[in-house]
């Protein structure tokens, strides 16, 4: 089953079971079924609960907040993650704050689904991973399913979550098959305390890893090839892949890091001021003296993402960047 199929059937199941689930966003109606076809077939079967909307992301997010306050479970699709900037005020000053400002008398169970990431030559405003701009917002959750979990089930968990959830789908994952097993790799899934899965993928049978790789979302498309190549180089790698990326299931990450003492954090967003920086800081707070090397980050070059494919490749992080970082922490 592909990532896309998993999301589509996850949404369908939710709509079948819960009349409170309303799916809306731009161009969702059949036969088009959304820019990336995640909602394909849903409008045909649930015509009253799949709504297509004008191009007005701020209003849509406000509407989602309102729906959630009145007991619905809105699932809003923002066509490209880059447009989340238009939703910012409704997320930061409204959705994230209502529960506290109304003294726990309300919840805001909004799920915003959105495709993120580059690699398709879509240029500066349709290729970004801007989740780091939202990571500092209290109360909200940011969820990014990888290939190593059932994306549809994670979406279900996000919709049933009473918190405001940003749900990030990397566009390059849509067509890929979910990976519950891969040649020569051990895959194990554990749930964090909020019920979101974290996958632990390793390229060795016994002993301790040499390096712990922490990554999420779109970067997980590199995990299999990187781990297989590292096995050829006799380097044992434990990949720790949370789906809940904010707040962090840090206990899981820390114990994975502690097993090797060498940590590489990889994300597709710009290298600086990001997820990797937060993890690196918390690793040194909790494992100072136990780390064998400085935590190494992998991320995009902090510039506008070019449209030309060759230039885009030079800017966005890829498997070789992860491999080089692994070699670096082993030096």
């Amino acid at each position: 089953m592909t990532y896309l199929e998993s999301l589509n059937s996850g949404l369908r199941e939710l709509m079948e079971e819960m009349p409170q689930v309303i799916v809306f966003g731009e161009d969702l109606l059949d036969p088009y079924g959304g820019a990336f076809k995640v909602t394909r077939g849903l409008q045909r079967d649930f015509p009253q609960r799949v709504l297509t909307t004008p191009i007005s992301e701020a209003a849509l997010t406000g509407i989602a907040n309102g729906m959630a306050l009145r007991g619905l479970r809105p699932v809003l699709e923002i066509m490209f993650g880059d447009f989340l900037s238009l939703c910012m005020d409704q997320i930061l000053n409204h959705g994230a704050k209502f529960r506290t400002m109304y003294n726990n008398t309300v919840t805001v169970p909004v799920t915003i689904r959105t495709p993120v990431g580059g690699g398709r030559g879509y240029g500066p405003t349709h290729s970004q991973c801007i989740e780091k701009l939202f990571m500092g917002i209290p109360e909200i959750r940011i969820v990014a399913p990888s290939l190593f979990c059932d994306a549809g089930r994670v979406l279900r968990h996000a919709v049933l979550d009473d918190k405001f959830v940003l749900f990030l789908e990397h566009k390059l994952l849509y067509s890929l098959d979910l990976l519950s097993a891969a040649a020569g790799l051990g895959v194990e899934t554990v749930k964090d305390e909020l019920g979101y899965p974290t996958a632990l993928v390793r390229n060795y049978d016994s002993g301790y890893p040499d390096v712990t790789l922490i990554t999420y979302g779109g970067m997980t498309r590199f995990v299999v090839s990187v781990l297989q190549r590292m096995a050829e180089e006799e380097i044992k790698v434990l990949a720790c892949i949370p789906t809940l990326i904010k707040p962090l299931p840090f206990d899981l990450l820390r114990s994975a890091a502690d097993r090797s003492g060498r940590v590489v954090v990889a994300e597709e967003g710009g290298l600086h001021w990001g997820w990797g920086a937060e993890i690196a800081a918390r690793m040194q707070e909790s494992l100072f003296g136990r780390l064998r090397a400085a935590v190494r980050r992998v991320g995009a070059v902090d510039i506008v993402i070019p449209a030309a494919r060759t230039l885009e490749r030079a800017v966005l992080p890829a498997d070789t960047d992860i491999e080089n970082a692994i070699f670096e922490v082993l030096k």
Binding site: Y208, D210, M230, E234, I235, L330
Partner: protein
């Protein structure tokens, strides 16, 4: 001039396209703007026009899925010209050198041990891939780091263990010297103390800085056979005779000895150390200096470059020697001593605190310094 024909990028979503058909025959004349091929992307079938006029040479047959940007043919000026087809991206990658593969883990082991990769390529027999195990086996066979410390002493213990393991140490002697050694070990990453032995009655069962005292001298061999430690070090600074006796004993039963080097000490280029040395904080062992076995260096000892120190010497804090000094065996230094360049200090000598050595000291000497000062009450 040969002009290559590349698979065009028609759809931003596709990395490759199907070359459906060539509409011109091989080596026929093609004019600029004429349709030469039909390709199919995931969205549409597209005609490809010739960008120039010339005789067409077809490299890739119709029906092939081709990466965008790959060369599929060429245009030449003459019909009988045979263009050389460049390697495709894939072929170029396949054609990597035939040299033996060395795994990254093996490469790191080689770098760490300071070995010469070229030499290993020749000297390690057999398989196509050189693994970490091959390097470890090679080092066990040849001693650690033969390329850089050939002929010199080396601490064999450290390199024969897996890299993620700390060398476990037995500390011989549980007195004040042991406290100094354990204190340094707190800051040393690759070693840790697992046990202490001391002959003083009543100490067994107690701990020193958290490390248990498990017995007297008689326990050393037993503990080693139980695999409780990898190497031993003598922490007794005061008794040179004891250190020498222990060294003999450990050698007889083949127990390896370790060096303890505080991380704040500097051991410079090409300095060669024996085993069983304790080098405490802020010591400086200069370039190309050679140190024997079983010496005890208190903090702030400076053995300058090209010096030579024998075995079982004890240095009090702040012994400063200039370059090219030769120290014999079993010499005991007090505190705060200066030694001029190129001097020789004979074995079994005792140099009192505060001495400034300006000439050679024969064997078995005692150097005493008279320092005149008076002490009066302030009252």
């Amino acid at each position: 001039m040969t002009r290559f024909i590349k698979m065009p990028m028609v759809n931003a979503n596709d990395d490759s396209a199907l070359l459906c058909a060539w509409t011109k025959t091989d080596q026929s004349l093609v004019r600029k703007g004429e349709i030469i091929a039909v390709i199919e992307t995931s969205k549409a079938t597209v005609d490809v026009e010739s960008e120039d006029t010339g005789y067409i040479h077809i490299f890739v047959p119709a029906g092939t899925q081709v990466l965008v940007g790959e060369i599929v043919g060429a245009l030449c000026d003459k019909p009988d010209e045979v263009p050389e087809r460049p390697l495709s991206k894939y072929e170029a990658q396949e054609d990597r050198s035939m040299a033996r593969k060395v795994t990254k883990k093996a490469e790191l082991a080689v770098t760490k041990a300071g070995l010469d990769m070229k030499r290993l390529q020749i000297e390690i027999p057999g398989a196509e891939t050189i693994t970490e195990a091959d390097i470890v086996a090679y080092m066990e066979q040849h001693g650690a780091g033969p390329s850089i410390t050939e002929g010199g002493g080396s601490d064999l213990v450290d390199d024969s263990y897996p890299r993620n393991r700390q060398q476990r140490l037995l500390i011989i002697g549980g007195g004040l010297g042991a406290v100094q050694v354990l204190d340094s070990l707190c800051r040393i990453e690759h070693q840790r103390a697992t046990a202490i032995v001391d002959d003083t009655p009543g100490l067994v069962g107690k701990t020193l800085l958290g490390v248990p005292i498990l017995g007297g001298q008689e326990a050393i061999e037993v503990l080693f056979k139980k695999n409780l430690f990898d190497a031993a070090v003598v922490s007794v600074s005061t008794s040179i005779a004891f250190r020498q006796r222990m060294d003999n004993m450990l050698r007889q039963v083949n127990i390896p000895m370790a060096n303890i080097i505080d991380p704040s000490a500097r051991v410079q280029r090409n300095a060669v150390l024996g085993v069983g040395n304790v080098i405490l904080a802020y010591c400086h062992i200069g370039a190309c200096t050679s140190i024997g076995n079983g010496n005890f260096f208190s903090p702030y000892v400076d053995v300058e470059h090209h010096c030579n120190v024998g075995d079982f010497c004890t240095f009090g804090p702040g012994v400063m020697m200039s370059s090219l000094v030769k120290i014999g065996a079993r010499v005991k230094f007090g505190t705060g001593i200066f030694i001029e360049p190129e001097l020789v200090v004979g074995s079994d000598s005792i140099i009192g605190s505060g001495a400034i050595l300006t000439r050679d000291i024969p064997h078995n000497s005692i150097v005493k310094t008279k320092i005149n000062y008076s002490i009066r009450s302030r009252a």
